[in-house]
């Protein structure tokens, strides 16, 4: 989500939401406050620090040190945004101000990595979803196609997925109605990565 700068420098270029750090808040409280001007903060399903960008010449004039965040909203949210603000596909960004394109790239890479080795998927999905919808989300975020069969098995084996029992309405072209799933509550925050070298004789599946 970018907003279009009205004034120089870099007028008319698109930039990430953000602003100065208040004296009584930490950086996360600050970005949530800044974001509240653009979108309802309660819709944020995940917020994490990305990196500090601090090159002396990253903005004209006096140095500005930026703490970049990665913020996610579920795919079904369509928040009302101000007129100077719009969503852009991360693969086809318009001309951006300052180093904001690099920041977006970093965010995209972080998301793709964490999708694979953590349970971050819950932050992208709506409360209930079909496997094929989830497959589309993962494919879009990762940048390559994943198999629905495999995705369901991997997430299920990790104990993240739970059928709701209901089925989704069928599409205009027919087909078998898809079962609805949800991420199991209690797993709706980022947990430890799924380690490859595990402690002896203990899997990280059970509660």
């Amino acid at each position: 989500m970018l907003w279009q700068r009205a004034r120089e420098p870099h007028a008319h270029r698109w930039s990430l939401p953000g602003g100065g750090l208040g004296s009584e808040e930490d950086v996360e409280a600050s970005i949530r406050r800044q974001l509240a001007e653009k979108v309802d903060v309660r819709q944020l399903s995940h917020v994490e620090q990305l990196a500090v960008f601090s090159a002396p010449d990253r903005v004209p004039g006096p140095r500005v040190v930026a703490t970049a965040f990665l913020g996610l909203v579920p795919s079904d949210t369509d928040p009302v945004v101000p007129s100077d603000t719009a969503w852009h596909p991360v693969d086809a960004l318009p001309p951006t101000a300052f180093d904001h394109e690099a920041i977006c790239r970093r965010a995209r890479n972080r998301l793709a990595s964490k999708l694979s080795y953590t349970n971050l998927g819950f932050a992208l999905a709506p409360p209930e979803f079909t496997i094929s919808a989830l497959r589309s989300l993962y494919s879009a975020a990762l940048g390559y196609e994943v198999s629905a069969t495999n995705l369901q098995r991997v997430l299920s084996r990790r104990g993240l997925l739970e059928p709701t029992g209901a089925v989704a309405p069928v599409g205009p072209s027919g087909g078998r109605p898809a079962a609805l799933f949800r991420f199991v509550s209690g797993q709706m925050r980022v947990t430890d990565p799924f380690a490859v070298l595990r402690p002896p004789s203990s899997r990280n599946l059970g509660t």
Copy 2:
């Protein structure tokens, strides 16, 4: 590596090396400069941003925003450090100044995670090492025992390990002399994590 504060606030408590950001450097250049006063920077085998710590009351007086870094040196380096500076086991830290204990915990968690799903191990190991020495390093960093057999196999299969041909001198209690290994050059920087959901029909093993 901590140094002992001489003055208030928090006199005599141990704190992480660091200092103010200069106007002509970014945060990584700054921490390398600060660290150079304590230890030869060329010994650093890995440096990465950890997180920003910015709670308004994290230090007394005016707010100080800190960008924390994780820095690693190979286990065989024993750098000369100033008299007010010393190494401490991360599991048994002395009383620390400010929020530096929390920073250390975060660093330790980051290290443990990345050891498993990236090739970060090279940053901890000396240029040449035996499998059991490497096993000790991994066990210490991860906090649980790993099997030497499995560690060697996992790292080998990822194409990270290479035998030097030489063997290490035997210990005081005898035993078969251990073969020496090195991390293959070209893999001596952190590469992409080993993704679980891979793109179709392409493994991340080949060069």
